[in-house]
């Protein structure tokens, strides 16, 4: 019998929904710019640029909301990594996803009010939110002021370095997004995690 735990307060649900929409828009417009094709544009270049710029600005504001929420609300505790034994916990969760899940074993780290994320989730979310996203935001903003920031900080080759970092990290964010969406289907039912993003209640296995 599954039970429901209220895990996602309204502000997190709103932040998460906006974050998801913006990241999807950024991936679509970013890929379109990177693989421009004059004969058959995925999204017209100038539209893709505007779409990418606006989404990037809103994402920055939204990211600030997330950081503030992490530091000033109880939500921050879910992102505190305990390094001791982390590797073992990651392997345990990984083994569950690769083998245990098919044998209908119980999750090794069930969701509770105190522990919203399993170790693999926690680790990847920390990397995504505190490493990858800040890098794409900083390199993205550098492109708003290329003649000031990129020449002053990195010299003549700043544009190239900045773009590679932005594109490569953006690529990893896209990876994260795909895997993240798929893993959302691993819940009490295929759609239970998606429902909890709306209701705020997590349904346990």
């Amino acid at each position: 019998m599954s039970e429901k735990i209220y895990l996602y307060p309204l502000w997190i649900r709103l932040w998460h929904a906006l974050n998801a929409i913006l990241i999807i828009l950024l991936i679509i417009s970013g890929v379109s710019m990177q693989y421009t094709n004059p004969e058959n544009p995925f999204i017209r270049f100038d539209i893709a640029v505007t779409m990418h710029n606006i989404s990037g600005i809103i994402l920055t504001v939204n990211y600030m909301v997330f950081v503030a929420g992490t530091f000033f609300t109880p939500n921050g505790k879910y992102y505190k990594l305990t390094l001791k034994g982390l590797f073992g916990r990651l392997i345990k969760q990984f083994t569950y996803y690769t083998f245990g899940i098919f044998k209908h074993e119980n999750p090794p780290f069930p969701v509770t009010k105190e522990s919203k994320f399993n170790p693999l989730q926690q680790f990847t979310y920390v990397i995504a939110m505190f490493v990858l996203v800040p890098i794409v935001l900083i390199t993205g903003w550098a492109y708003f002021y290329p003649e000031i920031i990129l020449t002053k900080i990195m010299g003549g080759s700043g544009l190239k370095i900045n773009d590679f970092i932005h594109v490569i990290i953006g690529f990893f964010v896209s990876f994260f997004m795909f895997i993240h969406i798929y893993f959302c289907t691993i819940g009490a039912t295929f759609v239970s995690n998606f429902k909890s993003m709306v209701s705020g209640f997590h349904e346990t296995h």
Binding site: T36, H104, D163, V167, F171, F175, F178, I179
Partner: protein
Amino acid sequence: MISRFTQFSRKVRAYPFLVVFIILVSSVSVNAQEKNKAENAKFNEKCLKCHGQSKYKYINPESGTEVTKRMYIETIINRAQFAESNHKYFKCTDCHSEDYDTFPHPGRLRMEAKYACIDCHGGDETYAKFKFEEIETEFQASVHATKHKDDFSCWLCHNPHTYKISLRSEEKIKDIVAYDNAICLDCHDNIIKYQMLTDKVNPDIDEKHSWLPNQKLHFNSVRCIECHARTNDSILVAHNVQPKTKAVRRCVECHSTNSILMASLYKYKVQEVRNKAGFYNGVIMNEGYVIGANRNYYLGLLSFILFGVVAAGIFIHASLRILKRKK
């Protein structure tokens, strides 16, 4: 019979002499050119004594007094710029009448026909590689020639006393861009010069290009003609300046692997489409970066492979979950 080794060792011994010979011949040639330049500069000083500054003096033969007059700005020649220009080896009278030797200059000299580029450079084998005839054809088709007819000559952009080619030199792209754009802005951003050819008020360049993202970066990185002149495969610098309605406005004309910049600004350096590190239009990356034009082939390939692996992993995992689900 002479062995290959002997032939080779003779060649090797001959090289130092060959090198010395080449150095001597080139230094003699350079010295002769420089000597010629120095002699002509001395000769030109007779003209520049007055035309080299904003004021000139002469003795009025009637009153016997010294008179100071202002020189017309169009007839002032900057010595330093002339000494750096393409025509630095010339005497003034190579292009202007020798009758200018007398002062006051005879009035009929005002009617003197001025040479155009093609008059000296056309049909000359020495300048064949510059294709002046084709440049002339392109210019005649341009909006400059069709709108302004004979009022617009080569000299409006290429001042014969100061002009120097920059695109083939070792100068940085940014310096070439600044030099070449200054030629356009000399009229298009100067109402006095602009209205010498038209009654219209020159448009505000920044406002007209306000649609351009990162406007300043674009202005510093590409020349006006990249968007305002039709590219031509057989000449190095496009001269067929188009009406404003035909200016390039589609970003992907430059921001794509098929970037027109490779047929214009970077044409002189283009040797290969993709350089060894796998970057499309890699030559641009020596001094700049163009989103969409400088993507990396290998990075693109790697990203497709990784996405394929992720998609396959998700597909397999999802399939197994469905197959192994509780009945």
